[in-house]
Symmetry: C2
Subunit: 195 residues, 2 copies
């Protein structure tokens, strides 16, 4: 009884991301997704499985942006402080526009404690980001751009926690200048003093 | 037609906090709250208003813990670094046990961008915490416990962002030792070197 899947999977996931990101997992119904994508319910189920599986597929699709962030962090061209500033300021701007916050942060907030698949996704994401950030900090130390007394692992964890906090706070309560002053302060704790 | 409100308001709010905190606003029904509190639906509505008003009342009740944190930060007895370490470690422990995370962080994550009342609550909370943290940092500087080159306002914002991030990350993806190493690193960026 399965129908031909004549729809654009990527486009459907992009629309699903928008809905889930804005309204959360519980706040989004399959009917909302059918309306937003124009794809019939049965086709969605045939392709993705149930609503939870569709949510996970959307989250995976969304997390391709982490790969882009990691590519930036691994770029050996610009100064490591410039790269870090770019990533942090980009985060502040992205957080304070569009659906706000981060779909992963929101997923963990809404479902994390009860949903092993979400916890696993978050863990994988944190580990990859920690490795890239610690690598950038070590590279910066060897180039005299990052303070020598900074622990790359501790500072990488601090930066990840700050990034999650910025994503979370940016959904309400503070504005972009506030976030930038917090992130610039963090940057100042790792950047080597200009000589 | 209103019934006498013969129930313990505080106890009902405590139960409502547990439910909303664990399942979110959308994931909790009035029926769940009626079952958990043993209070009839009409009595809940008579006392609190609708589900959203009950949610806000629960959140207000929950946020009394910020008053306790602020009282700790304002304690002029112990060393400022000891106070800060206690607050940050307490946060890591609290986050990685019980319902995990923070009800305010979760509320902002789920409803923040669409709910001015939640945004206002978060803003008030951030402003109060920023004032107390900046005050503690200034006090620490005058006592030689906090680095002189730290901007109290920037560091206070960094600390708040880290605290939100810890609350958010702790709901999935990292464990308590991971969080502690991130928070200890942050502490090291503000504490004066031991002489």
């Amino acid at each position: 009884m399965s129908r031909p899947k004549e729809f654009d999977r990527e486009a459907a996931l992009d629309r699903a991301i928008e809905l889930f990101w804005s309204r959360g997992f519980e706040g989004t119904s399959i009917r909302d997704i059918v309306e937003a994508t124009g794809v019939q319910k049965q086709s969605l189920y045939d392709t993705f499985g149930d609503k939870h599986a569709l949510y996970l597929a959307a989250l995976h699709h969304y997390l391709a942006q982490t790969d882009r962030t990691i590519a930036k962090l691994n770029d050996t061209g610009p100064s490591t402080v410039t790269i870090l500033r770019g990533v942090l300021h980009g985060l502040a701007t992205a957080t304070c526009s569009g659906p706000r916050g981060c779909m992963l942060v929101q997923a963990v907030g809404e479902l994390g404690p009860h949903d092993p698949a979400i916890g696993e996704l978050a863990h994988t994401n944190v580990v990859a980001l920690e490795k890239a950030l610690a690598g950038l900090l070590r590279r910066g130390q060897s180039r005299g751009e990052i303070r020598e007394d900074v622990s790359p692992r501790g500072a990488a964890r601090m930066l990840i926690t700050i990034m999650w906090g910025a994503r979370s706070l940016g959904r309400g309560g503070v504005d972009e200048p506030w976030l930038r002053s917090a992130l610039d302060h963090v940057l100042g704790t790792v950047a080597a003093p200009k000589t």
